[in-house]
């Protein structure tokens, strides 16, 4: 469907990873609302049902807790399920299954049963969608023991990280920044390797300030960094990719060199991811910090209806403003 020569969109990259995983391992199965015949409301699961049939690509009834419960049970009985929550804003219906079972069954049964499960969900604002289609609640998952939570920022990383998530012997929450779904293209090699879950990625080298972000906001962070180069502010940008387990070492190492830490994400600030990142850096590199850590996040409000969702989201300007202020601190 896409001309691979100019690269794949994130939708296509994830779709490709799903196709590859289904082909490689016939215990893999995909389930969710509209994932089969319809190919997913974002077309992420396009074509899977044609290639792998209704036994492995399950159009489920409209019930999130049921979907995740089904997937957990399948995972306990030899399958490698990849469940979709149509939007992360509806994943709360499955939160109890995730916290009480997906994250605990290995532990509860002392390893007798495991839950090699991936739960995919598009999240985040920026696509002019309806209410409840724009939230970022990655910390709900990041805070739960027994879970890994991954957020890719680009098509190639989505491809590589999804492969890693599917291979992981434990449950992985895979949150897809839907604002990036069709925003950019990246080439993906035929023999692309799975990524590693639990490591952050330095995506731009710089010596003045460490800018940490993930998901759709990474691109704004990068844009801010690029444009600030003209002002002689040299920013190192890190894509954390794995919300949990957080690779704070990579960030701390960078802060050890720059002395400045700015965190950008789109969730409401209070009890969001920035606090944890800050705390972990403080634990490791407090004395290297030259100025206060800052964060640029959404606000402690509901994402406004779409006409004003951009006022909610961290703008490149706000990021630049914060970085400049930190250089002046």
């Amino acid at each position: 469907m896409t001309d691979a020569s100019d690269g794949l969109t994130m939708v296509d990259a994830i779709n490709r990873a799903l196709h590859e995983a289904m082909a490689e391992d016939d215990t893999t199965a995909v389930m969710g609302q509209d994932v089969g015949v319809n190919g997913g409301v974002f077309r992420v699961t396009e074509g899977l049902i044609d290639d792998y049939g209704v036994a492995r690509v399950i159009d489920t009834p409209l019930a999130e807790s049921g979907i995740v419960g089904l997937a957990i049970g399948m995972a306990m009985n030899g399958a490698r399920p990849i469940a979709e929550m149509q939007f992360s804003g509806f994943s709360y219906y499955a939160l109890a299954q995730i916290e009480n079972h997906a994250a605990r069954i290995r532990w509860r049964t002392r390893g007798a049963h495991t839950v090699p499960l991936v739960i995919r969900m598009p999240y985040g604002a920026g696509v002019r969608a309806l209410e409840h289609h724009s939230e970022s609640r990655e910390v709900f998952y990041g805070h739960m023991p027994g879970l890994k939570t991954v957020i890719p920022a680009t098509p190639a990383r989505a491809h590589a990280l999804l492969h890693a998530a599917i291979r992981d012997p434990d449950p992985v929450i895979f949150m897809e920044p839907k604002a990036v779904y069709r925003q950019m293209r990246e080439p993906i090699a035929d023999d692309a390797e799975p990524a590693q879950i639990g490591t952050s990625r330095v995506v731009r080298r710089g010596k003045d300030l460490t800018l940490v972000s993930y998901g759709a906001m990474l691109h704004r962070a990068l844009e801010a960094a690029e444009t600030l180069a003209a002002e002689d502010i040299d920013i190192e940008v890190i894509d954390i990719e794995t919300i949990a387990p957080l690779d704070a070492e990579t960030i701390a190492k960078s802060v050890g060199q720059t002395g400045r830490l700015l965190i950008v994400n789109e969730a409401p600030p209070s009890y969001g991811a920035a606090g944890e990142i800050a705390m972990r850096v403080i634990e490791q590199e407090f004395y290297a910090l030259r100025v206060p850590i800052r964060r640029v996040c959404g606000w402690d409000v509901h994402v406004p209806f779409f006409a004003r969702e951009q006022t909610y989201l961290p703008s490149v300007d706000r990021i630049r403003g914060a970085a400049r202020a930190m250089m002046a601190d």
């Binding site: 015949v37 409301v41 019930a63 969608a129 402690d300 406004p304």
Partner: protein, 363 residues
């Protein structure tokens, strides 16, 4: 077939009152005045829906859920409510909302992505859309229960689709209403599809109506494209709720003639032939024929009505555009409004931070 296990054997027959040609199936005494009102609202809802679709395709509005085909099911049912009754919709009840007096300009402003379109009068008993499927249903039970405890006889109509019956919240809501005797009329518009999931794959039960029986609640199936039949069944359910606090469920068999939402492409999953078949059962056409037969409507009146509707919609869109341009001038700090009765200290600080930055950017 089985010795001990008994199989479900539901005995529902969809109630029908009006044949597709507009003739009455039984010699009912009918309230032609109300049917005329319903007709006008159905037609208005259809035209409004068409306009929304056009505006959406032009990029003026965001994603929305058309109601085409479901006008009789929702307007016929809403017509049985008193003004002080509550309507708790899902996201596909523009028709019911219009019957209840919703302002088209408000709806347009909302669909254009502005929270301000939801500026309701205090205590408004027609609620705005609920997006998370079935989540409105336990709330409807609570609204009904509180009113009844206070001695009010207002009742609640809660709307949802066939897909919604699969959610845990549907189950919990009907069970609560049954046990607490909360006066809720649960109106299920079974339009055959939940996005791409056909009714048959949503649940293995023969009917959706029988699900109510799991909660000790009476239920009926009705031809949802037959406004008169919908009214008759709903009147009975409303009376039960009002007089006895007895909830009931209505499964209105209808069809989604359009896309699920404007983000959807139904050709991927359903046969266009199905849509055509349902065209012959158009809910508006049926009432039109009745009204014509009863000399309540002729071509001239129809034309005048169409024109009136067109004018109203034009005026509403004009007003909406005006309001939107004014909204575009309002500061972004509006997003901090209505989070709490009194903004908390962090919100006050964030609001200030935001407006300082906005000002700096405008400098």
């Amino acid at each position: 077939m089985t010795a001990y296990l008994s199989w479900p054997d539901p005995k529902f027959e969809p109630h029908e009152a009006l044949a597709p040609d507009g003739t009455l199936l039984e010699d009912d005494e009918i309230d032609i005045g109300t049917l005329e009102q319903i007709y006008k609202t159905m037609l208005c809802a259809r035209r409004f829906d068409e306009r929304l679709l056009k505006l959406q395709r032009q990029g003026a509005l965001g994603t929305f859920a058309p109601i085409k085909g479901q006008e009789a099911a929702q307007i016929g049912a809403a017509a049985c409510l008193r003004e002080d009754d509550w309507l708790v919709p899902s996201f596909r009840e523009t028709g019911a909302a219009l019957w209840r007096g919703a302002d088209m300009a408000d709806l347009l402003v909302t669909l254009a992505g502005w929270n301000a379109g939801n500026d309701l009068p205090e205590g408004a008993r027609t609620l705005p859309d609920t997006v998370p499927v079935a989540s409105q249903l336990p709330i409807a039970a609570g609204i009904a229960h509180a009113g009844r405890l206070r001695g009010e006889d207002a009742i609640v109509m809660a709307c949802f689709g066939d897909g919604a019956t699969s959610e845990g919240d549907f189950h919990e809501a009907l069970n609560f209403a049954g046990v607490l005797e909360a006066p809720v009329v649960f109106l299920c518009q079974n339009n055959g599809w939940a996005i791409s999931t056909p009714r048959a794959r949503q649940t293995a039960s023969q009917t959706l109506a029988q699900k109510a029986h799991a909660y000790g609640i009476p239920a009926a199936q009705v031809d949802g494209n037959d406004a008169l039949a919908v009214m008759q069944v709903t009147q009975e359910a409303v009376a039960l709720a009002r007089d006895k606090g007895q909830p009931a469920m209505i499964e209105a068999l209808t069809y989604r003639m359009e896309v699920h939402t404007t983000a959807d492409d139904p050709t991927r999953y359903r046969d266009e032939g199905e849509v055509e078949e349902w065209q012959d059962r158009d809910p508006i056409e049926r009432v039109r024929k009745l009204l014509v037969a009863r000399s309540q409507l002729d071509d001239a009146m129809q034309e005048a009505l169409e024109e009136e509707i067109r004018d109203r919609i034009d005026a509403a869109w004009k007003e909406a555009k005006d309001r939107i341009s004014r909204l575009e001038e309002t500061p972004g700090t509006a997003m901090f409004d209505h989070i709490f009765a009194e903004p908390t200290a962090p919100l006050r600080r964030q609001r200030k931070e935001f407006s300082d930055q906005e000002e700096a950017a405008n400098d």
